[in-house]
């Protein structure tokens, strides 16, 4: 009896549509968020993440409406992120039905926002999204959708984020994202070892073996993927059966 390793599908949304890019660029339409959410909930997803990748101010009401419609379909936790720059933005997504708030670019500029969110909603509701890119012998933190370097070391930033009150790290390998070459095991293992909170690995998943590897060698607590689930390359149900057969503890849907 111990915590199950979580499988988390991610919906990158632009307005009311799900989109997906390769290495953070080249976006294409990947479906209706509400229909995908209902499917993942039924297939045994352990959580759902919805990220507003456009994060444009004028399209905020559409994103909140998407959160509300997605939340209505779920009997599992929902994390929402993208464009959360202030406490008020976070309140709006929580009121719309999100259980957790993912923050990235805004907290690199102002880490105190993590503490403000943690005080208001509890550490369990604050997910620090770290986009990391290999640079020489370390990993650099990237912001603005993976386009700009924040000139921060990813391990140090993850540690700092936790000390500010983040309850979880959503770690994306910018190098692997969209490549379907497997998760970045070295990056994930390094961050997981450095922090005291759960780590969600993201970027590069395709094969069931990639998930076994990230849980076993990457010490990930959860693994996130998008297009392989949207495109039905991988079903959550068969992925979990594969993991269970490889003695990775998972929650099998009934």
């Amino acid at each position: 009896m111990s915590l199950a390793h979580r499988i988390i599908p991610c919906l990158d949304t632009d307005g009311d549509r799900v989109v997906k890019g390769v290495k953070f660029v080249g976006l294409r339409d990947a479906g209706d968020p509400v229909a995908l959410a209902a499917r993942y909930n039924a297939e045994g997803a352990d959580e759902l993440v919805v990220l507003d990748i456009a994060a444009a101010r004028d399209r905020r009401p559409t994103f909140l409406q998407t959160i509300r419609r997605v939340a209505a379909e779920l009997s599992i936790p929902l994390t929402a992120g993208g464009g959360i720059r202030a406490l008020e933005d976070a309140r709006a997504v929580v009121r719309a039905g999100a259980d957790k708030i993912a923050v990235n670019t805004a907290v690199v500029a102002r880490p105190e926002l993590i503490s403000e969110l943690s005080r208001e909603f509890g550490a369990q509701a604050v997910v620090l999204a770290v986009d990391a890119k290999r640079k020489g012998d370390h990993w650099d933190v990237m912001v603005r959708g993976g386009r700009e370097s924040a000139s921060l070391d990813a391990i140090e930033w993850a540690r700092a984020g936790v000390s500010h009150g983040a309850g979880e790290i959503l770690l994306t390998s910018v190098d692997r994202d969209g490549t379907q070459c497997g998760f970045d095991v070295a990056l994930t293992a390094a961050i997981s070892k450095a922090v005291s909170v759960p780590v969600i690995a993201s970027g590069g998943a395709k094969l069931p073996e990639h998930f076994v590897e990230i849980f076993r060698e990457g010490a990930a607590d959860a693994a996130l993927a998008a297009s392989i689930f949207h495109d039905e390359v991988q079903s959550i149900r068969t992925l979990k059966q594969f993991l269970a057969a490889n003695r990775i503890e998972v929650r099998l849907p009934c």
Binding site: M1, L3, S75, I76, V94, D99, R119, G122, A125, V197
Partner: protein, 201 residues
């Protein structure tokens, strides 16, 4: 069956409400003491800080009405912080009093494991549980917390383990509490809520 959900501003109130409505329950959300006093069944959801909950119950004058309703025998289900609130105090907010309806205290989970205890875990029932009736003993439930009732003096019906054993389900006459989030725990969670509705009917 009408269920009164105490809405002190916690984030999970809408999802608890939705989960109960899906099961056919008629729900009322309130932060008014008179509604609590008149309730036929009470649900207290909760996420966040113990102090925020206890202060909100105090400033909204719900505390006394809630204690008196529960003592009169009104079925009560506490979720997450709503379970923790039943005890005398919590290490998360030293000096603040809990509802004191169950003896025991809430403590921090040990720091030798990843915290918060976040994700899907299994529970072990110790005694016959009304809340867990008909639920697969291997079922997983969704937890998200860093504090828990480690010593609950007899009210613990099922335990969970994360660094240490703690109360996952408490039951004492009309008082029920779950440390996990049934509203986020898929079919197994829905069954827990359904069982509570049946008990309260």
């Amino acid at each position: 069956m009408k269920v009164t959900i105490i809405d002190y501003g916690a984030g999970n109130v809408p999802s608890v409400e939705r989960a109960l409505q899906r099961l056919g329950a008629d729900t009322q959300r309130t932060n008014i003491a008179d509604d609590v006093a008149a309730a036929r069944a009470l649900v207290l959801p909760g996420v966040g800080h113990f102090a925020a909950l206890m202060r909100a119950l105090g400033t909204q004058n719900i505390r006394a009405a809630l204690i008196s309703a529960i003592q009169k025998g009104v079925p009560y289900l506490g979720i997450c912080l709503g379970l923790q609130a039943l005890f005398e105090s919590s290490e998360e907010a030293p000096g603040l009093k809990g509802l004191g309806l169950l003896s025991g205290n809430v403590s921090a989970l040990p720091a030798n494991v990843k915290l918060p205890h976040m994700g899907w875990n299994q529970i072990a029932a110790k005694l016959d549980s009304k809340l867990l009736q008909g639920i697969d003993p291997a079922a997983y439930f969704y937890f998200a917390h860093s504090y828990a009732a480690l010593r609950s003096n007899g009210s613990t019906i099922a335990t969970c383990c994360h660094g240490t054993s703690f109360a996952a389900v408490v039951e004492a006459q009309n008082i029920f509490g779950v440390q996990f989030h049934p509203e986020k725990s898929g079919d197994a969670g829905a069954r827990v809520l359904e069982n509570f509705l049946r008990i309260a009917a």
